[in-house]
């Protein structure tokens, strides 16, 4: 008799293995947040302790420093193939919201969506962690990824609730939400036209609560930013520091976070309520997501 978390885990593992069997050039986005870290853990479940494809991090330069430290620590400890990319052009021209040149949505589009697109296609420069040197070097491999595993969940916001497990993106990375392929019986879209790619979403059925329950059950290491350090504040969702605000909460442990989600004041508050860009996008991420945002 399996409980719900085990069922979720089994389906996610199955999806990861289908992706690995069908996509020669596969990568996994790792935002350092709780969801994509659970995803990374599920990959280790699926491949018996290994992660047989590169992890991709999109570096906006505005991530909270602790996130980057944590990324590199796990990379070393778990022997991960770690790659990061960024929008070097926008950063050098200071086309960012913190620099006051563009609004939040445009900043997200430039530093995340555009950076993601060019990192996937190989047109943008990629930096790879060299385990021998213990540091990042320019990655000589510029092949396009054809499968990208992403930790989006359908309970996060409206447009994500319509996603497929295997979701096609055209040459421009556009998501045609009105015309998605059918998907049923654990058979997924694994055939794709040259020049296009597929986003794979193993966490679609997980809720925020499931994520924390699983982190607790599996004892997955997470960033301390999620917990109150005595200031009465903690992050519920992690992003760039200019657009992500901590919430008022005194949860210091995973157990306390779970309790807070189940019965406390967070029971009926949206998870991404600390993300300013969502509000600027008419209450959803739809405009950003159609354009290729995770």
């Amino acid at each position: 008799m399996m409980d719900h978390l085990e069922q979720l885990e089994n389906l996610s593992v199955h999806i990861l293995r289908e992706a690995y069997a069908n996509f020669k050039s596969l990568g996994m986005l790792w935002s350092i947040g709780k969801d994509s870290t659970v995803l990374l853990w599920l990959a280790r479940k699926a491949f018996f302790g290994h992660v047989p494809f590169p992890l991709i991090h999109i570096d906006t330069h505005y991530k909270i420093p602790e996130m980057i430290e944590y990324r590199d620590r796990l990379t070393r400890e778990w022997k991960l193939q770690m790659i990061y990319g960024m929008n070097e052009d926008a950063l050098s021209r200071r086309q960012t919201f913190p620099d006051g040149q563009v609004d939040r949505i445009t900043c997200c589009r430039l530093l995340k969506t555009e950076a993601l697109k060019s990192t996937i296609s190989g047109e943008g420069r990629r930096y790879r962690f060299d385990h021998e040197k213990g540091d990042y070097v320019i990655d000589r491999n510029t092949d396009a990824f054809t499968g990208i595993i992403v930790g989006v969940r359908s309970d996060e916001e409206g447009s994500r609730s319509k996603e497929r497990y295997f979701s096609p993106r055209d040459k421009e990375n556009l998501w045609d939400v009105g015309d998605q392929p059918p998907e049923f019986w654990s058979q997924f879209k694994t055939d794709f036209k040259p020049g296009t790619h597929v986003r794979i979403h193993p966490l679609l059925d997980w809720t925020e609560l499931n994520i924390w329950e699983y982190i607790e059950r599996e004892r997955i290491p997470t960033v301390s930013l999620y917990y109150d350090q005595g200031e009465g504040k903690r992050y519920r969702s992690l992003g760039c520091y200019p657009c992500t605000y901590p919430i008022d909460s005194e949860s210091r442990t995973i157990g306390e976070i779970i309790l807070e989600l189940k019965s406390g004041k967070l029971k009926n508050v949206a998870e991404r309520s600390g993300r300013a860009q969502d509000k600027d996008d008419g209450g959803g991420l739809e405009t950003l997501r159609r354009d290729g945002y995770m």
Binding site: H4, F48, G158, G178, E183, D191, K193, D205
Partner: protein, 600 residues
């Protein structure tokens, strides 16, 4: 044992467009206090800004273009909780254009509510969705007769709909769980009663929700696990050879003998592997797992693992199926498609379209060349290689498939019957052979590593006098001098020796081919690259060879003009200039396929 409050069930809401599915769902969320703080206020404010009346459906139709059109385009998932358990509610679109999205949503559910508008009555998609629920294998369905407020909560109107729809469902062999009247707009009958329907004594929608039974994986059935992959992470310093997949039915323990189909190969479970768990001794239906075997046999993705001593899956190349079609282009007779069944993926040819049914009025045609979008059909498919499966009525999860057309999943269906094909007699002998096979302690992999080559049969075929034999012999010479273990197998050598007992006794061509293949199979097992020639190899010949020898280990080369074959070739040399050039081309093919090493 799980705590009841932790039970989780997925439920779909289906029905004709505008019959109020999203409103039922929105009302359920609102009346049970399941919405995030401020959500209703936010939507109300949005409506005021755009000067349109507030609707509960807007809670669900999160996408902008849906709100403007007032229809659900794609299935949305909503998480929801009652006192009894947790739910994922899937709001499926009712518009005919979005039937593929309804199928996507409903297929993820264990039970369904089908919504019918009391004023409009039973419509085309009320029926079509009912039909598809049964094909998708959703056994539990309750029917909500919604918008009772528009017909003055009239009992006779409700009962007329109950009678009409019950009759329709009976024709396709479905018995609904129950019918219930409601008005999602006023809230009547959803979470509680407000007194408008004193004649109705049954449960509310919310109460019925909690009576759906959670589906459990079929652990009592024979063991079935489609092989997803074989992992050997030597790059990570891990020497385990793990056969991975999700068990769909039954269970298997360490020490059990596992047989893989269609190949018939077998081995015993040595260990059950997992990461960050206690040591496991058993695999159960529903688990994504992996195991190692006591012997290093060659199995590949696409095979179906079963347990020796339990009922065998069916293995054939011909299937009688029921299909529903969602493709942009019609599904045509005498056309080739890709079939995905379990983890196998094979090319199929549509041999026959026996009957086409309109899923909404049950009208059927027997004389059709194609199946149009949204229709349902009975067909016969011919696969280009054998597949392993169960009949849908015996084991639903291993008896269903999807069809891929032009990169897209375009239809799905269930297998009704395993039909005889021309190779059945050969296959029976192969199963027997594999079952009795005495395995050497030296595995195929060890030999391949030692000899630095993958044992493969290369068949060079073409018209008479196309110079096949000289090419084969020159290739043998070239590979031999490269240091390969290679053997040219002359057909005559088999004909006058191994086939001496049947030589000249009428038309024994198939038996000749079978024996030739078996002799080759021994050489391949010894790690050898085998070269053979055949005059105009036919599809039937090749199918026998592919039944005896794993298709991955066969390469077919056609040489000479004209190309008079319909068999799938790995290489065609239409105008061979000379033997040397042909040899180089075949050698390149062997390097491309990783049969032999390419220096750079």
């Amino acid at each position: 044992m799980m705590k009841a409050e932790e039970e989780h069930i997925s439920l779909a809401i289906v029905g004709h467009v505008d019959h109020g599915k999203s409103t039922v769902l929105g009302r359920l969320l609102a009346d049970t206090g399941s919405l995030p703080e401020g959500k209703i206020e936010q939507i109300r404010a949005n409506c005021e800004r755009n000067s349109k009346p507030f609707e509960y459906a807007f809670l669900i139709d999160a996408l902008k273009d849906e709100q403007s059109q007032g229809i659900t385009i794609d299935s949305a998932r909503v998480f929801f909780k009652t006192k009894k358990r947790n739910y994922t509610l899937i709001d499926a679109p009712g518009h005919i254009e979005f039937l593929k999205n309804m199928v996507t949503g409903a297929s993820r559910a264990e039970a369904a509510f089908l919504v019918i508008d009391a004023e409009e009555g039973v419509r085309e998609n009320s029926r079509r969705h009912g039909y598809l629920l049964s094909m998708l294998g959703i056994a539990q369905a309750a029917i909500i007769v919604n918008k009772m407020d528009l017909v003055g909560f009239d009992r006779s109107i409700y009962e007329r709909i109950v009678t009409e729809y019950t009759e329709f469902l009976a024709r396709i062999g479905i018995t609904p769980l129950c019918f219930l009247p409601a008005s999602a707009r006023t809230g009547e009958g959803i979470a509680h009663f407000q007194g408008s329907m004193p004649w109705y004594k049954g449960p509310t929608v919310l109460e019925v929700l909690d009576t759906f039974i959670k589906e459990e994986p079929p652990t009592a059935k024979p063991f079935r696990m489609p092989v997803q992959d074989i992992y050997k992470f030597t790059g990570f310093g891990d020497s385990r050879r793990i056969i991975a997949g999700t068990a769909l039915a039954g269970s298997a323990r360490i020490g059990d003998e596992i047989v893989f189909y269609p190949s018939g190969k077998k081995g015993r479970i040595n260990t059950i592997e997992s990461f960050n768990t206690e040591a496991r001794t058993e695999i159960q239906a529903g688990q994504a797992s992996g195991f190692t075997l006591d012997e290093q046999i060659y199995v590949a993705r696409g095979e179906l693992a079963a347990k020796a001593g339990e009922s065998r899956p069916r293995v054939t190349t011909r299937l009688r199926i029921n299909l529903f079609w969602l493709g942009k282009e019609p599904f045509r007779k005498k056309t080739e498609y890709i079939l995905k069944l379990g983890t196998s993926r094979v090319a199929v040819f549509v041999e026959e379209i026996t009957r086409v049914v309109n899923a909404s009025d049950l009208h059927s045609d027997t004389d059709r060349e194609m199946v149009e979008r949204h229709e349902v059909a009975d067909c016969i498919l011919k696969c280009n290689r054998a597949v392993a499966f169960d009949l849908s009525q015996d084991s639903a999860l291993t008896g269903r498939f999807v069809i891929v057309d032009d990169y897209e999943i375009s239809g799905g269906g269930i297998i009704r019957e395993a039909l005889e094909d021309k190779q059945a007699w050969v296959r029976d002998k192969v199963f027997e052979r594999e079952y009795k096979w005495e395995r050497s302690a030296i595995s195929l992999e060890m030999r391949a590593e030692k000899y630095n080559q993958k044992p493969t049969l290369i068949i060079i075929t073409g018209q008479k006098n196309a110079g096949k034999k000289p090419v084969a012999k020159a290739l043998e010479g070239r590979l031999f001098s490269d240091g390969k273990i290679v053997y040219f197998l002359g057909i005559g050598n088999v004909l006058y020796g191994i086939d001496a007992d049947i030589k000249g006794t009428g038309n024994k061509r198939e038996e000749h081919i079978r024996r030739l293949s078996e002799a080759t199979n021994l050489l391949l097992d010894a790690g050898v690259i085998v070269l053979a020639t055949a005059i105009e190899l036919t599809r039937d010949d090749l199918e026998i060879i592919r039944t005896v020898i794993e298709p991955e280990r066969i390469g077919v080369v056609w040489t000479g003009d004209p190309v008079t074959t319909d068999i799938p070739c790995d290489l065609i040399i239409p105008e061979p200039r000379n033997t040397e050039e042909s040899v180089s081309l075949i050698k390149t093919l062997m390097q491309d396929r990783g049969i032999i090493f390419r220096p750079w």
